[in-house]
């Protein structure tokens, strides 16, 4: 019987590693990550969020979130577009694809078997409060690149 605590550690390490790798591969240069924080609840607290459900050997939720300006900058580097050309639909699509890439690569890197990810949910706005009720611990990883910050929440 696999140890869920060990699986969780492997998954969080993979999540941190792939997020750094993805951001660095998109021409952001050096990306840093703060020490992992454990939060009391799973709340979406940024303007733009991409949320993916993890199913299988472990279950839980991963959210990738940032300001609209940061998501626009990331999508701009991925697509080679000017950020001023990006529409709200582009931003929503972009955060969804970023969440998909982060979680898909996390799953591949962790190799703990029988994991699946759902299609991402994208949320955008300044006037919402969203919370997922869970008994699982909530880990926050905060990444910094130039003058941008990307936050990843994981509860698995």
């Amino acid at each position: 019987m696999a140890d869920p605590l060990e699986h969780r550690r492997i998954l969080l390490d993979a999540l941190q590693g792939v997020t750094l790798q993805i951001l660095e591969s998109e021409s952001w240069g050096t990306v840093t990550c703060d020490a992992v924080k454990v939060l009391p609840s799973f709340q979406l607290t940024r303007e733009v969020c991409g949320v993916v459900h993890i199913l299988g050997a472990l279950h839980g939720l991963v959210a990738v979130m940032a300001t609209q300006r940061t998501v626009a900058a990331i999508i701009g580097t991925i697509t080679g577009s000017q950020t001023r050309e990006l529409t709200q639909e582009d931003i929503l699509d972009g955060i969804a694809e970023l969440a998909n890439m982060v979680c898909g690569n996390m799953k591949s890197r962790a190799q703990i078997g029988n994991l699946a990810i759902t299609p991402p949910v994208a949320i955008m706005g300044t006037e919402f409060i969203a919370q997922w009720k869970t008994v699982l611990p909530v880990h926050q990883l905060t990444f910094h690149m130039r003058d941008h910050t990307l936050v990843v929440l994981a509860s698995v």
């Binding site: 591969s25 697509t79 080679g80 577009s81 694809e97 998909n100 591949s108």
Partner: protein, 124 residues
């Protein structure tokens, strides 16, 4: 000559369209498998490569790949999977179903250009 990208992400379709355009291809876009198969059946003779996502609403990429290879009109068109699914089992399933290449996301524009040329049999 045309490429067809089937991906629910506009972001990814935009990157592939940009790369294809630089390489001199007209790039057709489909946001799901059903639309992709329809375009493929309408323009079979002109489409030289299909770039196919795995996780999409409706038909998934493997189902689309199987449909392409099951149809005598489209089975000769090469298909490259372009997906976040990087596990060995996914790659094996795709190759067994007839994919000629497998590219995980994210990718640089240079890598995608090289993969497209390889899939068309014109590269390393």
């Amino acid at each position: 000559m045309k490429l067809l990208t089937i991906d629910d992400s506009k972001t990814i379709r935009r990157v592939i369209a940009g790369v294809g355009s630089v390489l001199g291809f007209e790039v057709l876009e489909a946001e799901n498998g059903a639309v992709g198969l329809e375009i493929l059946r309408e323009q079979t003779d002109e489409i030289k490569l299909v770039l196919l996502d795995w996780n999409m609403p409706g038909l998934n990429g493997l189902e689309v790949l199987q449909a392409i290879k099951a149809d005598p009109r489209t089975q000769q068109i090469p298909v490259m999977m372009v997906t976040t699914e990087g596990e060995r089992e996914y790659i094996i399933k795709a190759i067994q179903a007839g994919a000629v290449h497998y590219q995980t996301k994210p990718f640089s524009q240079e890598v995608m250009a090289a993969r497209i040329m390889e899939a068309l049999g014109a590269g390393g």
